[in-house]
């Protein structure tokens, strides 16, 4: 599936995510992390931004052909229950590598999450590999 580099710069709409205690608890339970802070739903685990699903309209990927290559989160402060975080995701890079099984396309996207005052809460970077 060839992906044109002109997709670089395409963005999602900004989406406001309300961080709910139940969502924190569910993610921690799925991970199998018994930390009482998560079970109380107070502070979110460090991988919580994965629940902030943001689609980029111009970026169409076949779910059967993609693999997750990597992920990064950098925090200005922890995410807590009750936070309202506005997220925007943007295609940051597209590049091709020759793998053993043929050409692989790497799509890198970056997400920023901000509080209602516009202060940065976290930055995310995700690499998806298209087979």
């Amino acid at each position: 599936m060839p992906i044109d580099r002109s997709i670089i710069g395409a963005t999602s709409e900004p989406v406001v995510f309300e961080v709910e205690r139940g969502a924190i608890r569910k993610l921690a339970q799925a991970i199998g992390d018994p930390n009482p802070v998560y079970q109380a739903g107070e502070v979110a685990p460090p991988t919580f931004p994965t629940t902030f699903r943001l689609s980029i309209p111009r970026l169409k990927l076949d779910p059967n052909r993609i693999l997750h290559g990597g992920e990064e989160y950098v925090y200005e402060r922890p995410i807590r229950a009750g936070d309202r975080i506005t997220c925007v995701r943007r295609v940051a890079d597209v590049y091709v590598k020759e793998g053993r099984s043929g050409t692989l396309t790497f799509v890198v996207s970056e997400t920023e999450g901000r509080d209602p005052e516009g202060k940065l809460v976290f930055r995310g970077k995700s690499t998806v590999i298209v087979r």
Partner: protein
């Protein structure tokens, strides 16, 4: 857990997780919102050439998040970065490990500790590798 005088080269106490189960992958799909069926439906996984379902890469990153917050507390993770290098399958037992790269004092109370982290399977293969930065109390002593 009390670790005293952390310094570059120190290994951290490992976190051994339960074997990956189908129920865990279903729960993780629901909790994370990643409903890609290669993680939960064997027919889809086979059609995609994977043989059987594979775990969400993010689940192994979640394990590494637990490893970090067991060490530093849920409010003290500055950065968590991983690369998903190999697939994780049903029944795999992942162990999270880490090694201290540096300990930088921030002020009298806190240090920023940079770590190499990874999750390996029961055959000792590193499946998810990365780096992290956590805040630990204890100034330049690197003590928590």
């Amino acid at each position: 857990m009390i670790l005293r005088n952390l310094k570059a080269g120190d290994s951290l106490p490992p976190l051994v997780k339960e074997p990956i189960s189908k129920v865990q992958l279903l729960k993780y799909a629901g909790a994370s919102g990643d409903y890609n069926l290669i993680h939960t439906d064997v027919e889809t996984a086979r059609a995609a050439g994977l043989g059987d379902v594979i775990a969400h890469g993010m689940l192994s990153m979640g394990f590494l998040g637990q490893f970090l917050t067991d060490l530093a507390g849920p409010e003290n993770v500055r950065r968590l970065q991983v690369r998903f290098g190999a697939m994780v399958r049903l029944g795999d037992v992942l162990t999270c490990r880490g090694m201290v790269q540096s300990v930088e004092p921030i002020d009298a109370e806190r240090s920023l500790v940079t770590l190499d982290i990874w999750a390996e399977n029961q055959r000792g293969e590193k499946v998810t590798t990365g780096a992290a930065e956590v805040f630990l109390e204890g100034g330049g002593r690197g003590t928590i």
